[in-house]
């Protein structure tokens, strides 16, 4: 085949994207497309993995065996989602260990929602209902992302996430219809998680520097504000249904637009948490580093066992 110049390669690449033809690992792609995906998918993977921590916090204290089994299954899914995504990152030529080291050194980010503490059992409800709900809203369009391995991983993730949101809503529903104390606990969890959940969609469109390029590459299909509005529109009636109040005095239905208007997000808080100053940033990274260090001997032992086994098999065969 003849050598193509970079402009022609770029043109053909964009033509594929425009025609909704997926890009696969061995296909030519512009370097910034590759770098954008490595950054986004590894951050997504880190979010899944760090996301196990706030919920892992409650596994031993779940109120009954059913809730405990469900929470365990959910946290195990998050681990699986992290693994699907790390393997998608590797298809882009990134080194898995390096991406994990970037998380531990603070170079790579993860979803800032996981830097909030989970103080009560009701937080397991709020996290499932709101945090997984917002994550699903972000992830469903990613199933159609232009990069094949990422899109395929997201299909699996989305299939599994829907139970996560339902189990969270079920916890909230149960508490909201329980004793006054239980209902107050549910309301308190909603109060604390509502705004951070809205922040999960990222900065307003006007302040989002990556949005336009990502939309042109069909990595992203909707803007941050579109998805956030969709989330508010869907979630408000759910809260009403179980008798909880959204902690936003400016929230009201807008007959004209057919959407809910809602109050201003505290972006100072958002940037503070992103920059590492949230309530739990340090705990989360410390826990990840500790897990890696404490698990080192297991990984080494597995290698030693594999080598021994290989040697034994070779001896048997000779």
């Amino acid at each position: 085949m003849k050598e193509l110049n970079i402009d022609e390669l770029k043109r053909r690449f964009q033509e594929k994207i425009d025609n909704d033809i997926k890009i696969e690992p061995k296909d030519w792609m512009p370097d910034d497309y590759r770098q954008t995906l490595i950054r986004q998918i590894s951050q997504h993977a880190h979010s899944e993995v760090v996301g196990m921590l706030p919920e892992g916090n409650w596994i031993t204290r779940a109120p009954n065996l059913r809730r405990k089994a469900v929470l365990l299954a959910k946290v195990q899914d998050e681990a699986g989602h992290g693994l699907y995504l790390y393997s998608a990152v590797e298809t882009l030529g990134a080194d898995r260990e390096e991406t994990i080291d970037d998380l531990h050194s603070g170079k790579a980010k993860y979803s800032s929602i996981f830097n909030y503490p989970t103080l009560t059992w009701a937080d397991m409800g709020a996290v499932g209902w709101l945090v997984d709900g917002a994550a699903i809203m972000n992830q469903v369009p990613l199933c159609r992302c232009s990069y094949g391995p990422y899109a395929r991983a997201m299909v699996r993730v989305c299939k599994e996430e829907s139970f996560h949101q339902r189990q969270g809503f079920e916890i909230m529903m149960k508490l909201a219809s329980g004793t006054p104390e239980q209902k107050a606990m549910a309301q308190d969890a909603l109060n604390r998680f509502w705004w951070p959940a809205l922040m999960m969609f990222g900065p307003n469109d006007a302040d989002s520097k990556h949005t336009q390029q990502s939309m042109d590459w069909k990595i992203k299909r909707h803007t941050n504000d579109e998805l956030r509005q969709q989330f508010v529109d869907i979630t408000v009636p759910q809260a009403e249904m179980i008798g909880l109040e959204i902690p936003d005095p400016d929230l009201k239905w807008n007959e004209e637009t057919g959407h809910y208007d809602f109050g201003e997000i505290n972006w100072d808080e958002f940037w503070q948490v992103v920059q590492g100053n949230g309530p739990c940033n340090k705990d989360r990274i410390d826990a990840r580093r500790k897990a890696k260090e404490d698990g080192m001997w297991v990984r080494e032992a597995a290698n030693a066992y594999a080598e021994k086994r290989k040697a034994r098999l070779a001896k048997k065969a000779s």
């Binding site: 195990q76 393997s87 260990e97 080291d101 080494e300 597995a302 290698n303």
Partner: protein, 95 residues
């Protein structure tokens, strides 16, 4: 800092008897035995499979997408390999 990274394995799952194994993703594990055990946990948590293959990614040899034209072009002109190429008059059945 990492001593020896576990090798990468491609995972293939047979979802039910009668279907072929299908690629589902990859994972890292120290050897093929542990790769199968890990694949069970990572890719079949909801009974997605009844059989697992793992293949060391280093042993997968793939065609080059840049050569797609020369590889697959010869088939394009052979439309007579498809049954729709042939005229079958009305009234002829079971063909």
């Amino acid at each position: 800092m990492s001593k020896k990274e576990w090798p990468l394995w491609e995972v293939f799952i047979r979802s039910k008897q009668g279907l072929s194994h299908k690629h589902v993703g990859s994972l890292r594990a120290a050897d093929e035995q542990m790769a199968i055990e890990n694949a069970r946990d990572v890719y079949t948590r909801r009974s997605e499979g009844i059989s697992i293959w793992v293949v060391a990614s280093a042993n997968v040899f793939a065609s080059d997408p840049n050569e797609a034209d020369s590889l697959y072009e010869p088939a394009n002109s052979k439309v007579y390999r498809h049954p729709t190429f042939y005229d079958v008059p009305d009234g002829i059945e079971h063909m």
